[in-house]
Symmetry: none
Subunit: 300 residues, 2 copies
DNA sequence: ATATTCCGGTCAAACCTTGGACGAGGCTGT
DNA sequence: ACAGCCTCGTCCAAGGTTTGACCGGAATAT
């Protein structure tokens, strides 16, 4: 393949040096020696890198006349990365679930939605997922056991949170080239909140989630994995239904995944079927903390 | 199944190249060789991809005459490897803001909010900012000049967009160790939309924005820059008010910034006071494109 | 009739080239 | 302190090419 070359205009955009200055630097200091063709200067990639370094050096106060004759290595040393220490500590405001729960108990959907939106604006998605969505669902579950909320109310709040998290999910575009994970819930496992939270955490960790929703047959997931080539297939097992059957499906899936694609499972159901799952090569996460660490390893 | 083909009009929409230019490119450089049927040219999907790449290359400063003979792979290399497998093709679907404008004209805040939220869910933040928020504000401004909307309506939609973009901003947490920029509007410049968009673009580029809002005195900004040590202080100058005075404040600020912190300014007001600003060492951006490239250089 | 496409010709704006000049800021010697 | 010199980004002029857009006329389909 022919080496890439750039006309002066493109170099100006890439380096942030104006066209005039570029020519002046070349004329006066021989900063680079681009080759020419009938259309004018053609810079090489090496030229562009050198110019970028020079620009940075100048930005830091060095005179162009002094740094112009330096070699690339010297320039690189000159503009070496400076990590900057001072970070503003974000005051972590305690979040109360009580207000939300009260809204649910009072069937006050409006208030619930308002509160959730307010929190969504104030909190980072990760915080929202871990400190609001999950505790709220847990609280609602307990309230249901106590007979304080009905099954209808539970569905209501689930739907609400689902749509909120779903919206958050779409709002964050992963960086290009980020590692991919495929996130879903397997056939027989209808609770998708855990999967949603996993998707949200993925985006926060610089991993691109492909969220497939709840109740996918293993075959579908395998087919999807073959096409998308994710680094991992992430499944959530809440463990409310028939754990054995779900675990069986997961094991079947894990064995059929292409090489290079791991199978990660979290949730109470996963912990209940630890033996069967790990025999099939599944990695089990006991909490979202471990999951986030695994994500960080992927993104690194 | 017959392979998909597109008439010239559709290709123009898809690639963003006008019909005339499309024909000129073909005539002069043989950029693609679409087949013909009785209606005219029929472009293949490959043609469309090639043309899109060419357009991007031209946008980045390459001369069409020079890049025309290059192969698809070379073009892709030239344009940067943003080409992950096209799982989410993200066709640059032109978003219409007519509905939004109609909602504003009809004082239909509910509908405006609904529409904006819908778009916020569907579109990536970058797209939302550049293709919805900015054009909408421009359209509202024009409608105001024509007397079709009142100043109150303008404030309404401004507030709405502001809160939406503000929410988006908080939703994205930058990766730890990312380079920082400080974003604000200087004393005397009340329009903060440009600054908000800049903040949004920063997060997309892997740069952590510290957003300070509108109307900061230079002294405050310098003090903040001293503590935070950002790589750049980014200011938006819409240029509605007294441009000279604002430019003076910006120049004052630029001279007082600590070494290693650049001063970047964008907006119509910046272009109007180009001379005074660049004398003070301010870097001026004519469009968000240039700003994004500068961000990319920071993050690199 | 109206709309779309075709083609070739034409034109103005943008671009690249070289070389010189201007001016703001910094350094130095008196 | 002040004049003089140097540095360096920007601007200009002049001469050339490139390129996007527009025009007019013809063909064809709705």
């Amino acid at each position: 393949m022919r080496p890439l070359t750039f006309p002066i205009r493109a170099v100006a955009k890439l380096t942030g040096i104006t066209v005039d200055t570029l020519r002046a630097w070349e004329r006066r200091y021989g900063v680079v020696e681009p080759s020419r063709d009938e259309r004018g200067r053609t810079y090489s990639e090496a030229d562009v890198e050198r110019l970028t370094l020079l620009r940075r050096a100048v930005e830091r106060g060095h005179a162009i006349g002094r740094v112009a004759p330096l070699g690339v290595d010297e320039l690189r040393a000159l503009v070496g990365r400076a990590a900057s220490p001072p970070v503003i500590p974000a005051p972590s405001s305690p979040v109360t679930i009580d207000g939300l729960l009260a809204a649910v108990e009072g069937f006050d959907l409006d208030r619930l939605r308002r509160e959730l939106n307010r929190l969504a604006v104030v909190l980072a998605p990760r915080q929202l997922a871990l400190e609001v969505a999950l505790p709220l669902m847990r609280a609602v579950g307990e309230a249901w056991h106590l007979g304080k909320v009905s099954i209808g109310q539970e569905h209501l709040v689930t739907a609400e949170i689902r749509s909120l998290v779903g919206a958050l999910l779409r709002l964050r575009e992963p960086p290009p080239g980020a590692p991919r994970v495929l996130i879903a819930t397997i056939e027989g496992e209808p609770h998708e909140l855990g999967a949603l939270v996993a998707a949200l955490l993925s985006t926060g960790a610089g991993v691109a989630p492909f969220y497939f929703g709840a109740g996918l047959p293993p075959r579908e997931l395998v087919a999807a994995a073959r096409r998308l080539r994710p680094r991992a297939v992430v499944l959530s097992m809440a463990g409310a239904g028939s754990v054995e059957q779900v675990a069986g499906s997961v094991a079947e899936l894990a064995r059929a995944l292409p090489a290079g694609t791991a199978c990660w499972v979290g949730g109470a159901g996963a912990q209940a079927s630890r033996a069967a799952l790990s025999a099939a090569g599944v990695e089990i996460f006991d909490d979202f903390d471990g999951f986030e660490q695994a994500l960080a390893r992927l993104a690194a």
